[in-house]
């Protein structure tokens, strides 16, 4: 298997999530920097050929090109380290993880959009995106509150999985688009636990609390 190339912009939420998870999994990525802002190079003909919808990150591995964070993360984990503790070995926990990874990609993806609109000149209705992000945060806060009563510290069960790592950044960086953490006490406690994952790394905007 040849090395995986990740087309990356350091300040993008999805790029950070993939880099951070690769670090937790112990996978080295060959990073290629793309000037998303202010250069808008993710929309260049060369990048459009890889990612027609103009998204970052993009993972390229031989003939395989992946443009969705969920697919990139699962592919890396399943091909490089299928026995890693971040990947549940029982089918039920695995299904729960996938459920919350999809929630991260869809509902929580709104937070990444809101942040890109507020900071990186992306088009969008910031007030509407912020309201939808808040509703997604509430659903996650409700879920983690109930998990806590059963002694479960993470979204899929008692142990941290890829789903928690994928949900982390949209919450941690929400102040970048004006959504405070005041109203999400269960998320504040959970985010602290997620940070303790071996191999975890930060990005600008996420203070290193260690």
């Amino acid at each position: 298997m040849s090395g995986a190339v990740l087309y990356n912009y350091d300040l993008d939420i999805d790029c950070y999530t993939v880099r951070m998870i690769a670090g937790c999994l112990g996978i080295a990525l060959d990073l290629r920097q793309v000037d998303l802002y202010p250069g808008h190079k993710h929309l260049s003909p060369k990048m459009r050929a890889l990612s027609p919808q103009g998204r970052l990150p993009v993972l390229v591995e031989d003939a395989l090109v992946l443009t969705q964070p969920l697919a990139i993360i699962l592919h890396l984990a399943e091909t490089r380290c299928p026995d890693h503790p971040l990947l549940p070995q029982d089918a039920i926990t695995g299904a729960r993880m996938l459920d919350w990874m999809t929630f991260a990609a869809r509902e929580m993806g709104v937070a990444a959009e809101a942040r890109a609109t507020a900071m990186l000149d992306a088009p969008g209705d910031l007030a509407a995106l912020k309201d939808r992000a808040k509703r997604a945060f509430r659903l996650l806060d409700d879920h983690l509150t109930l998990q806590g009563f059963d002694g479960l510290g993470f979204v899929a069960g008692p142990e941290v999985t890829l789903a928690d790592l994928m949900l982390f950044a949209p919450f941690a960086l929400s102040r970048d688009f004006g959504l405070d953490h005041d109203a999400f006490p269960a998320l504040r406690l959970w985010a602290r636990r997620v940070r303790a994952t071996p191999g975890f790394s930060t990005m600008p905007g996420i203070p290193d609390e260690r």
């Binding site: 005041d182 999400f184 006490p185 504040r188 602290r192 203070p207």
Partner: protein, 219 residues
């Protein structure tokens, strides 16, 4: 506007050492944090340097550091260290405004203005804090039916409900004219099932008052 009194800000268990949180009482922005010795603090949520919210900062040991430039403040609100000027003896005039802080009934309280005596409440188990985008009075009116309560009594910013889960005490935090928080606690030490039942009832209350629908407990 000057506010006087004690106001609940959070459940005690929601503020471990190391994680500061922002809380707003009638428009007054407060940072609540806990030092390594376990003592809770409530301060104005503003670094005197550049006005950054202290609740965005980091708690290390017995001090809290601003996210912007790392100015460090001790438990008395005094600035102790300015990293850009490590040899500077920091003037006493650089300090964050502090409020009274107390813990009672499983909640952390801030004493604003001339607050008077700190609250005294029986010990309780924190269940969950609920943030609702309606005026406090709207949420208050919906409480008895939401928890299927036999009766409700109010004393200051705390209401007491008799429910199937036993006695619930709920701390009321008026954030602004159209936002409030309910800090729900239960007497004694209810089990996981009871706490989940209380939390679910609280969630239904939030969803129903925000959408303006009936708040009755689902069967």
């Amino acid at each position: 506007m000057t506010i006087n009194g004690w106001f609940p800000l959070a459940l005690s268990g929601s503020i471990p050492p190391g994680i500061p949180a922002g809380a707003i009482v009638k428009g007054t922005e407060i940072v609540v944090w806990r030092d390594q010795a376990g003592e809770a603090h409530a301060w104005e949520d503003r670094c005197p340097h550049r006005g950054m919210k202290m609740s965005f900062g980091v708690v290390r040991g017995d001090h809290i550091a601003c996210l912007y430039h790392g100015w460090q403040y001790g438990p008395d609100g005094q600035c102790r260290k300015i990293p850009a000027h490590p040899d500077l003896d920091v003037p006493r005039s650089i300090c964050v405004k502090t409020y009274g802080a107390a813990e009672a009934g499983g909640m952390i309280w801030a004493g604003l203005g001339a607050p008077g005596d700190a609250p005294v409440l029986p010990e309780a188990t924190g269940v969950r804090s609920l943030y609702v985008d309606v005026p406090l009075n709207t949420a208050l009116a919906a409480l008895p039916s939401a928890f299927d309560a036999g009766g409700m009594t109010a004393r200051g910013p705390v209401v007491t409900l008799d429910t199937r889960w036993g006695t619930l005490r709920i701390g009321l935090q008026e954030i602004g004219e159209a936002q409030c928080a309910l800090h729900v606690t239960a007497a004694g030490n209810p089990g996981a099932e009871a706490r989940a039942g209380i939390a679910r009832a609280a969630t239904r209350l939030r969803d129903s008052v925000e959408s303006g629908t009936d708040t009755g407990v689902a069967a």
